[in-house]
Symmetry: C2
C-alpha cells in the first residue's frame, strides 16, 4: 500500500518517485502520445528506474490513468474557483460568459504552464483513451453544464435544449481548434508559434464572436 498524496501542492509532485513519474509521463504522453512513449523514456525523465512504473502504478496503463487523475485533481480547484459566483440577471450572465471564455481560452491556448496538461487531455480525448471517463466527470461534464445554464440565463433559452448544448460545444470547439491545429494556424498566420501575444489576438476574436452571438439571440423574443 504505497499510496500517498500531498494535499498542499497542486498538480503532480516532483518530489516523490511516483509524482516525478506522473509529471514526466503527463508531459511525454501529451507530446508524443501514449503508444509512442516508452517506459524507458519516462523513467529517464523522472530520474528513476523502469521498474518503478510497474511498482507504483501496475504498469504503463496504470500510469496513464494516474495522469488523468492527477489532471482531474489539479483542474478541479481551478474549475471551482471559477464557479464561485452564480449570476442572477441576463446582463450579469453575459459578462460572466465573456469572462469565462477569456479565462478558458487563455489557459487552453496561451498558458505555457498548462500546455503539457492540455496536450495530454486532448490526446486522451481524440485517442479515446481510458482517461476520458475521469476527465469528463472532473472537468468537461460540470463545465459544459454550467456554461449551458449561464448561456440560457443570458439569452432566455432552455438550458437543457439540445440546440443549447450543441451551441456550447461549438464555442468550446472554437477554442480547442487553435490548440489542435496549431501547426496549421501558425503556418497560415505566418507565426512561429502561438504564445501569449498570439493567444491574446485569438481570444479577442473569440470574445467578439460570443458577444455578437449573444446579442443576436437576445434580440429574439422567448
Amino acid at each position: 500500500m504505497g499510496e500517498e498524496r500531498d494535499k498542499t501542492d497542486s498538480g503532480p509532485r516532483p518530489e516523490s518517485t511516483a509524482g516525478a513519474l506522473i509529471a514526466a509521463a503527463l508531459e511525454i504522453f501529451g507530446r508524443k502520445g501514449f503508444d509512442s512513449t516508452s517506459t524507458r523514456e519516462i523513467a529517464a525523465v523522472a530520474k528513476t528506474n523502469i521498474a518503478s512504473i510497474s511498482y507504483h502504478f501496475g504498469g504503463k496503463a496504470g500510469l496513464r490513468i494516474a495522469c488523468a487523475e492527477a489532471f482531474a485533481a489539479h483542474i478541479g480547484a481551478l474549475i471551482n474557483s471559477l464557479t464561485a459566483h452564480e449570476p442572477t440577471s441576463p446582463t450579469e450572465a453575459e459578462d460572466l460568459l465573456l469572462t469565462l471564455i477569456d479565462r478558458l481560452a487563455s489557459h487552453l491556448i496561451g498558458s505555457a504552464e498548462m500546455r503539457p496538461l492540455v496536450a495530454f487531455v486532448l490526446r486522451e480525448i481524440s485517442d479515446g483513451g481510458p482517461g476520458i471517463d475521469i476527465i469528463y466527470k472532473a472537468m468537461i461534464g460540470p463545465s459544459h453544464q454550467r456554461l449551458c445554464r449561464i448561456w440560457a440565463l443570458a439569452t432566455g433559452e432552455d438550458p437543457d435544449a439540445e440546440a443549447v448544448k450543441i451551441f456550447v460545444f461549438s464555442i468550446i470547439g472554437q477554442i480547442v481548434y487553435f490548440r489542435i491545429g496549431t501547426a496549421i494556424v501558425t503556418r497560415r498566420m505566418g507565426w512561429t508559434d502561438i504564445g501569449p501575444g498570439e493567444a491574446a489576438k485569438i481570444v479577442q476574436v473569440l470574445k467578439a464572436n460570443l458577444r455578437d452571438l449573444i446579442a443576436a439571440r437576445r434580440r429574439l423574443p422567448k
Copy 2:
C-alpha cells in the same frame, strides 16, 4: 498450407497492391495513429505481404506520405468542384458561405465515406506528421484563403486582415471539434454516435451561428 487466390476474379474493382496498402493504411492510421499501427496489420488488411510495403513505398514512413498524397489527390477534385462559382455581391457571398459551411460540416462530421480520410488528416495534423505539408498545400491553404475572400466580400472587411484569418479558423474549429471530441459530445448529448441525423442537428446550429455573425459584422459600417 495456403489458400488459393483467384486472380481471374470478377470482383468489384481490381485494386493494385499499392492501392490496397494505401487504403488499408489510411483507415488504420486514422483510427489508431501511425505509431500504434503495425506494418503487419496493414499488410493483413490489404491482403498482401509485409515486404510489399518496403517494396512499393520504401517503408512505413513512405506509406504514410503516400496516404497523405492520396488524400490530397482525392480531396483536390472535391475542393475544385466547390470553387467553381465566384460570388460578386455581399448577399451572394453570404449564401455561398452558408452553403460551403454546410457542405464542409456534412463531409467532416456526418459522412461515413469520408470518416477514415478525415480521421487520418486530423491525426496527421495533431501529431505534427510529415503529411501536414502536403495536406496544407492541397486543401487547407487554398480553402482557408478562399473562405477569407468570401467572408471579406460578405462583410466588407479586409480579406488579408489578421482578425479575418483568425475568424475563419474559429469557424472551422467549430466544425472540427465535433469530430475530435466525438467521444465527449456523444456522452454529453446522450447519443450513441454522430451519424447523419446528429450531424444535421449540429450543422443547423453552426449555420445559425454563422448567419448571426455575418449579420452582426454586416451591420457595422466600413
